[in-house]
């Protein structure tokens, strides 16, 4: 997955919505220099292509205190989180350092799995161990594993957090005091949702699954696909909220939690998340701070999973 291309698409998606005067503004093209943060998940494996049985790398700072490398859903899953940077190149430099740090602390014959689909799994899935981070997260993850399929929690991917730079906001508001930054974010979100089929075509890198991902009693695809992870065979709950307004987006998620469609707000796994804080209701009072794009599979042709 090419992060620069994501910035290009972001630019395009903002431009192509509505056709209003704002889309012509020079400042919109500046969004290609948006602030970008990457979250890249990766799985530790052994030399046979199975989930590693080794503990979290000891040489790294305690993962509960770690700012950049955290355990994700599973004990074997690490999430590498870059700080927001104004250039994608800088973000990738951070990612390179994290990768190197994590790799330098792996046990002998331990590797990082380059695919988003989980490696070989045991038939009873006893090798999938939920990460024991904070108690609240652990409880939530246990619930997800119980209600959804635990093998699907073993998928990994790339999340791209993308937001307007302060300069872009300043320029836009200087040009038109009535411009709504939230509206621009929503336009971009709608654009990404509308064209997610194209993103899947361009970046999908999970054509097949590995041993015991599919249980004997589950439906399986008849052949390779672009992205199993982003299909109904992958991780998720099928719920998509509305992007017509922040109110509808928030109401949709809260209602889904009330109706038990979602286990919690954080289980909203739409292709695009509107982000402000962990409490989705903050979007209503504080506005959208950035978008989180969740569609990208790891790129197995790249050592960092992204390019």
């Amino acid at each position: 997955m090419d992060v620069l291309q994501v910035a290009f698409l972001w630019d395009t998606f903002v431009k192509t919505k509505d056709g209003g005067q704002m889309k012509q503004a020079k400042e919109v093209s500046d969004f290609i220099n948006s602030t970008v943060g990457l979250e890249v998940e990766t799985q530790r494996i052994n030399q046979n292509g199975e989930l590693s049985h080794k503990a979290y790398p000891k040489g790294l700072l305690n993962e509960r205190k770690h700012h950049f490398i955290k355990n994700d859903f599973l004990e074997t899953q690490s999430e590498l989180i870059t700080p927001p940077t104004k250039t994608t190149l800088k973000g990738l430099k951070y990612l390179g350092v994290y990768h190197q740090a994590l790799r330098s602390e792996l046990a002998a014959k331990e590797y990082l799995w380059p695919y988003s689909m989980p490696p070989k799994l045991k038939a009873d899935h006893s090798d999938i161990v939920i990460a024991q981070t904070d108690p609240k997260s652990y409880e939530y993850r246990q619930q997800v594993a119980k209600i959804r399929k635990i093998e699907r929690t073993a998928e990994t991917g790339v999340h791209v957090n993308i937001g307007f730079t302060k300069k872009a906001i300043r320029d836009l508001t200087a040009q038109d005091a009535n411009v709504s930054i939230d509206e621009l974010y929503l336009q971009a979100a709608v654009g990404f949702m509308r064209y997610r089929w194209l993103l899947t075509y361009l970046f999908g890198a999970t054509p097949v699954a590995f041993n015991n991902y599919f249980s004997p009693d589950t439906e399986v695809p008849v052949g390779p696909v672009r992205s199993l992870r982003n299909s109904h065979f992958g991780f998720g709950n099928g719920f998509i909220s509305s992007y017509q307004s922040i109110q509808q987006y928030v109401d949709g998620i809260l209602k889904a939690v009330d109706d038990k469609q979602l286990i919690a707000q954080r289980e909203y796994y739409g292709t695009v998340r509107l982000k402000r804080s962990d409490n989705v209701s903050d979007l209503l009072t504080k506005g959208i701070a950035y978008l989180e794009l969740r569609i990208y599979d790891l790129d197995p042709f790249e050592p960092l999973g992204v390019s």
Binding site: S104, P114, Y115, P303
Partner: protein, 78 residues
């Protein structure tokens, strides 16, 4: 990116399928995992470019990754 639009065989999913062995991508995945690990070990100084950064220098980044004492030697040697 245009080439992927013009030719579906150049998309990542299609390219991956060219690496299937007996209908599986397992051997290719293990080969890539091994290659990337070796390449990382060969990198003598991953902090290049962070020496004099205004937002975070190499020492600060090293401490944030490995703790207060850092781990410069092992890290450097991969």
């Amino acid at each position: 990116m245009q080439d992927r639009l013009d030719n579906p065989n150049l998309t990542p999913a299609a390219t991956l399928c060219d690496h299937e062995v007996d209908g599986s991508l397992m051997s290719y995945g293990l080969a890539m995992a091994n290659r990337y690990q070796n390449r990382a070990h060969e990198n003598p100084n991953p902090f290049t470019g962070f020496e004099e950064q205004p937002d975070m220098d190499a020492n600060e980044l090293r401490q944030l990754l490995f703790g207060v004492m850092g781990k410069p030697e092992n890290y450097k040697n991969g």
